[in-house]
Symmetry: C2
Subunit: 333 residues, 2 copies
């Protein structure tokens, strides 16, 4: 199956580049509202399921035991930009559980935020704290502590923490997750491939609190509220997930993943959304998810205008001249 072109990037009078992809929108009963392209083939959601990966933090009592704040819970769901307050928050999480930055096994990379990277360059080199996944890893370490497991190998598929995570993913998506769909993520934890329509179904359940146990539903509400109250900690300054959740509060939960993935929940509409850009292009996946949110979320005029900046962003060059536009195709409007 050839997925449709969903995003075009123009330059002057011509289309310069094209992105194909697939989009699934489901309700909490699994009923399909939109299925564009192949939504049945398993795709790696990568960081787009970090909120599901963070759920054991609440369910296993770690959030209470270590008195994690809403900002810290948001960090556990984050692909953060490595700005100073992100790094400080992760350090706090680790300290609360009696752990240290040296316990992180996510690897180091330069902060996503250019300003933060420049700051790190002035004083030294990046550490695992600057890795966009360090909050998730700090969360895993807190869970390991709370359940009395050895924190050393918390990232391995067979570790109790990752088994808990896998159980959560299976419960939400209804997918059976075995070796045939398991790979290693950028930060070394397992990533499990799940069909797009099952991811959308899972995020509908995540938003609506239906189709899961009452206790799990309460944990989800707590996690969603933390992200809605502290969206800067889920991504960072100027980033899409942060700006959308700042704009819409608890009306939208949205999270990006590497290689062109976004998952979202519209709790009031009872809908879940999952998109994957075939070629892994993040810029296209962002326009795709923005267009789907614009289609299903009731919007005021100023909200629609704010969202349109992401659906059809103007492309500018190094001098700030307008050189073209990114735009979603008719299929997504």
């Amino acid at each position: 199956m050839t997925n449709p072109v969903l995003v075009e990037v123009t330059r002057g009078p011509l289309v310069e580049s094209r992105h194909r992809g697939a989009v699934a929108v489901c309700d909490a009963q699994g009923k399909t509202a939109v299925a564009l392209g192949d939504v049945a083939v398993p795709i790696f959601p990568r960081s787009a399921v970090k909120a599901l990966q963070a759920l054991p933090l609440i369910e296993q009592g770690a959030a209470d035991r270590f008195s994690l704040s809403e900002e810290e819970l948001a960090l556990a769901c984050a692909s953060h930009s490595g700005e100073a307050a992100h790094v400080a928050g992760v350090e706090r999480m680790l300290a609360k559980a009696g752990l240290a930055p040296s316990d992180l096994r996510c690897g180091a990379h330069w902060p996503i935020a250019q300003s933060a990277a420049a700051g790190v360059a002035r004083s030294g080199a990046p550490s695992p704290l600057h890795n966009n996944c360090s909050g998730k890893h700090a969360g895993f370490l807190c869970v390991a502590r709370a359940i009395g497991a050895d924190p050393a190998d918390y990232w391995r598929p067979e570790h109790p923490v990752q088994r808990l995570v896998r159980g959560v993913l299976e419960d939400f998506t209804g997918a059976s997750l075995g070796e045939a769909c398991c790979a290693i993520d950028g930060c070394s934890v397992p990533t499990w491939a799940v069909p797009l329509h099952k991811l959308a179904h899972g995020f509908a359940k995540f938003g609506a609190g239906h189709g899961i146990s009452g206790e799990r539903a309460r944990s989800v509400v707590r996690l969603r509220r933390a992200c809605a109250k502290a969206p800067w900690f889920v991504a960072g300054t100027g980033r899409f997930c942060t700006e959308i959740m700042q704009l819409f509060g608890d009306r939208v939960f949205v999270k990006t993943g590497a290689e062109g993935v976004y998952c979202a929940a519209l709790p009031r509409e009872g809908l879940g959304i999952a998109v994957k850009c075939d070629d892994g292009g993040g810029r296209a996946a962002q326009a795709m998810i923005a267009a789907v949110i614009a289609r299903f979320l009731p919007l005021g005029a100023s909200e629609r205008a704010a969202l349109e900046r992401f659906v059809a962003p103007v492309q500018r060059n190094w001098n700030g001249f307008e050189v073209g536009q990114m735009r979603v195709t008719e299929a997504l409007r």
Copy 2:
């Protein structure tokens, strides 16, 4: 026409992302050796034609008048990484023509090389000298000086320098370049869309020196020799264009352009190559051009192994773990 999938990126047991694209290989008579996908639709070559954009520098006498070295000629053809010797070279070019960094109109961005960016962060902020196109712009300014044109607006389509560039592009590609295929590049100069097979034809002529005037052919030889002798100045440390030209010397000329483009010439085989990744993905375009070079260039065993690293690069995560592979599909083997 739907272009074929030419590159797959795997993660663990599955293909995570797919890149479609088109490939043209032609000889200097315009005879097609390979035509994969739509090679007739105009595409923006962007920086992949910088060597053609640099030709007036020699033809108008600027290179001789300002005693430009081979390194400086290579810089005029470069998308450089903004490392210290790149920046120093561009400053030298400007000084030789009695101009200053403030005459550059390419805009500023952080150096492509992470180490250079960190260095700039420690001492200040990036300037137009760090823009990967600053050598090309310095070349344009030298041409403006040599022909007695006002350097102020050297980047505008109607400026004598850009008219000369457009004439060179038309001569090599045989395309007629008007407003309908003109857009603004990242560094603000015009970029002209040309069908892929005409770009391949143009680079066959560039490599073979056929189908152009004798004087032009001599200028091309001088420019190709400069790039072959100083390939580090065409890109930078660890970059594809640099490593390929270090490996093969004057047997391969290759140059990348933004949004998934590469152009190359194999002078001894009399072939020109042009590739475009549909979605603008540079990683895929690199695997594509590496595969085409591997197919048409006679290779020793160690050369084949060196090239294979680019045809099928192992994908590693932040901890250095192997997580997958990029690979070209059967169509390109």
